[in-house]
Symmetry: C2
Subunit: 122 residues, 2 copies
DNA sequence: TCCATAATTCGACATTCTTTGAAATATGGA
DNA sequence: TCCATATTTCAAAGAATGTCGAATTATGGA
């Protein structure tokens, strides 16, 4: 099951750290070596974890010269969140309402470059 | 880490099924025996899984006579979703926007009994 | 008190996961 | 071609996880 694969891929400290690092790195992503250096992981250990995250669809890697650059898939995490909300929490306003508010907050929906000037009309 | 505990608690088919069943059962929850019967699990196997879900704070059990009734914690799943959105996806509108929309949809925020007549003002 | 029901705890076993060292593959440059 | 860099693959060891039978605790009723 896809949800199980994604949940278990994230349910490990090292992989969760990798994923969060990549989300923070944005669409450009990071090379495997950079990730390893940033998190203090052995290259082969990291490689195994990158493979698991990739297979779960949470990240994707593309070769660039002699390095492979990995980037987080925003679609996959969005789908996972939607799964948790719809399939697991359908019909429970006390779950959805705070989530909706958080999603609407600037902290979440207005990245550094975005225009937040007037409470973002669109 | 709490997020890791919750993710790994849900990252197992049996436990995910238990959790979804309990979410569907609502605040009244279900007795351990009912859950075992509904999912076809051995009572001792289920007990181990209930313990893991409980320790992660995803469910809570209260004794009623000779049975123990378990109910899902809507707060815990809400917090997990918020964690995935804020800590993992901060500043990515393409993640938050669809989530916000889903949260706003009646399918999610208007349970059977709720009044959906006029787009629920409060 | 004695028994039946509901659920948990314990111990063992098989399976899966994680990490690590060593070797292999892929790429770019001299 | 030869070498250095970047990353992966392989095989093995150790840790963690999931399941099952048997025994145990807790509760209510005869």
């Amino acid at each position: 099951m896809l949800a199980i694969d994604r949940l278990s891929a994230l349910a490990q400290p090292g992989r969760l750290a990798v994923f969060r690092l990549l989300v923070g790195a944005g669409p450009e992503g990071m090379a495997a070596g950079e990730i390893a250096a940033a998190l203090g992981l052995a290259p082969n250990t990291l490689s195994a974890q990158l493979a698991i995250l990739s297979q779960a669809g949470l990240i994707a890697g593309t070769r660039e010269g002699r390095m492979i650059r990995y980037a987080a898939s925003t679609e996959s995490i969005r789908d996972l969140i939607l799964y948790l909300m719809e399939d697991c929490c359908g019909g429970h306003p006390e779950v959805c309402f705070p989530v909706q508010q958080a999603a609407a907050r600037a902290a979440c929906c207005a990245p550094a470059g975005a225009k937040v000037r007037k409470a973002a009309r669109n």
